[in-house]
Symmetry: C2
Subunit: 350 residues, 2 copies
DNA sequence: GTCGCCGATGGAATCGTTTCCACCTTTGCC
DNA sequence: GGCAAAGGTGGAAACGATTCCATCGGCGAC
């Protein structure tokens, strides 16, 4: 008797179809080595009972869980949600589900999430770590046998493959571009100086500026609109105000734009603006904002692809692949010229 | 012997600690009814072995899977990613994981995702259905025993609780507001007329317009920027061009804004603009865009709360709760007045 | 001193699959 | 016509947790 409210089992199907459990198992796994007649009958019973294999039982028998975990600071952030969408797509192509967890950049929550995911035995992990230098995280990643790929931000000393934007180079190119416009005093504006990505971008800015013998002007105090406004007003009030602003992330870019707009400082006439990371309405604002564009979807997509690449071989050789590839994939950025930096692009696709 | 690369099991812990499996099980489930000495020893072994309970085995014994599924058209869309973040938060508070699947509004993919989620026996489902009228979906939802809550969009005849924005009322209020400015010819612009939300909004517009004896001017042909441009140009070229535009979703609002900007039609002087659904830079654009704002996070949060509410009682009474509540929660919108509709708000927080 | 209870503990069955092995037909080939 | 190979099938043992039930001291109460 099949209890109502509960799910029918493989044995239920077998009994009703008058065959053994082995046969039913074979049917739901491709139907090889089963006679056409039996196949048909079993399929009919499955349909009739609404039978759905219990994944938990399969997992217990050592099969893949067909799930991968995504650990990101936030999923509401368009950046990470785009990565997530790309990763989900790849997961789906590999017949897997994506479990999304949010750390809010808190290493404690991050570790908790990782532990929960490990209980669930996800086949792999996509991780955008809260902290680049975390010893605890590196230790954890070294200890577990589950493949991990970090993206957007790597983690030091963990020997884990990572997919990142070439932040350094992107920032260098951005700065070079502002220099080529003839600006001498270029303010680099940002916040959260602990973040790997921002540090790399800062490094790129610094390198380019110093190469040209220009003054390094850095202000990493921006946390929100208020602090951005304060920072910009301060710099504008100096005897030698900046001629251009390079913002390290898009929230900062927007704060800067709003502040300049409010102060009625003409962009790019009085001060030029160029931001790292594109955002949706950058080309709709007046003036439109020039940016360094990162291949966001590629980050998530390639990270997921590398992850599944590590997963597949385990099916062929039953020994876990000995070499955890430590490769770091660096994706190039693109300088998108709009009006805020002083360029006068002929046309831009909407 | 513990195989390397594999996970230690509860039995491994028991052996190493010199206790029975029952005792270890009790330890990892709160440590009640275990002597302090044993508790300590077992904990030490767990730590040493890096033991992590295998969730699959627990599930097989009839425990909760501690996972809920989220089925949405897209996760890159800021609207759904905000819902997802809210839902994730609630799930975490209930010690559960959130599995995210993307349908791309394709009923076929949707059904496939639902089936995969059912294999995994998620404790519950949060669903933003692709199609309001789908018979197949209603049938499926009626058949499964897993609790489901739909959000943003309900599904007809499924008797499933849903959390939605009061689209009708929001659109009515928006239209009323435009009418109160004295505009007589108000164009309602949108696309995808099959979507529940847009239909409701259209209904609200229509109701308000007719109540005032004004002409109903509807154009649901907008799919992308091109079609928006074409639609707006056509309407502007008529002998009696519209004095205001009410856009039914934010992508349309943006297309409309860009078109008017390109055509150098002054907003709101020559034509007013008011959109349904807020978006990030609506207040930064010039003019800033007046919108109907939905409580997006609340949608995801409340839907998840209702879902877990249905999950909890099952622990007390072991009979599945007989009454699937069919309640529909309707969340109110907010009219956010900026400049594009002709208002002159004193101040707006950034 | 025994009785009965309680706290601490362990043995073993169970959950729903997969899979190893064994068995029984066919069938093709000499 | 015999015989191996191959195809179709099923029984039963895993997988790793939970949990029912039994056992076993110790101890206060009579």
């Amino acid at each position: 008797m099949i209890k109502p409210g509960s799910h029918p089992t493989l044995a239920d199907v077998a009994r009703k179809a008058g065959v053994g459990t082995t046969t039913v198992s074979r049917v739901i796994n491709g139907g090889h080595r089963v006679s056409p007649r039996t196949l048909k009958r079993v399929h009919a019973v499955i349909e009739q009972l609404g039978y759905m294999p219990n994944q938990a039982a399969r997992i217990l028998k050592g099969e893949r869980t067909k799930t991968i975990g995504l650990v990101v600071p936030s999923i509401a952030d368009p950046f990470f949600s785009s990565c997530a969408e790309a990763a989900q797509e790849i997961a789906r192509a590999h017949d897997s589900l994506l479990i999304v967890t949010v750390t809010n950049n808190d290493p404690h929550i991050e570790m908790e999430n990782l532990n929960v995911l490990m209980r669930h035995r996800t086949d792999g992990l996509l991780l955008a770590p809260a902290n680049y230098q975390s010893e605890a995280l590196a230790e954890f990643l070294g200890r577990i046998s589950t493949p991990v790929v970090t993206f957007d931000r790597p983690v030091a000393k963990a020997g884990v493959p990572s997919v990142v934007t070439d932040n350094y180079n992107g920032a260098r190119i951005a700065t070079e571009h502002l220099v080529s416009h003839g600006y001498k005093r270029i303010l680099c504006l940002g916040g959260e100086p602990t973040l790997y990505t921002l540090r790399e971008r800062l490094r790129g800015y610094r390198h380019a500026i110093e190469e040209h013998g220009l003054p390094v002007i850095v202000d990493m105090s921006v946390k929100d609109y208020k602090s951005a406004e304060y920072a910009i007003e301060s710099h504008l009030a100096t005897s030698q105000p900046p001629e251009a602003i390079f913002t390290l992330k898009n929230s900062t870019t927007i704060y800067a734009f709003e502040t300049l707009q409010k102060l009625r400082v003409a962009i790019p006439k009085s001060i030029a603006l160029l931001g790292f990371d594109d955002f949706e309405l950058a080309s709709t604002l007046r003036p439109s904002i020039s940016v360094i564009q990162q291949p966001i979807e590629d980050l998530g997509r390639i990270a997921a692809e590398i992850l599944f690449e590590q997963l597949l071989p385990a099916k062929k050789s039953k020994y876990p692949s000995p070499k955890k590839r430590q490769d770091q994939v660096k994706l190039e950025t693109r300088l998108v010229l709009r009006h805020s930096c002083g360029c006068n692009p002929t046309q831009e696709p909407a």
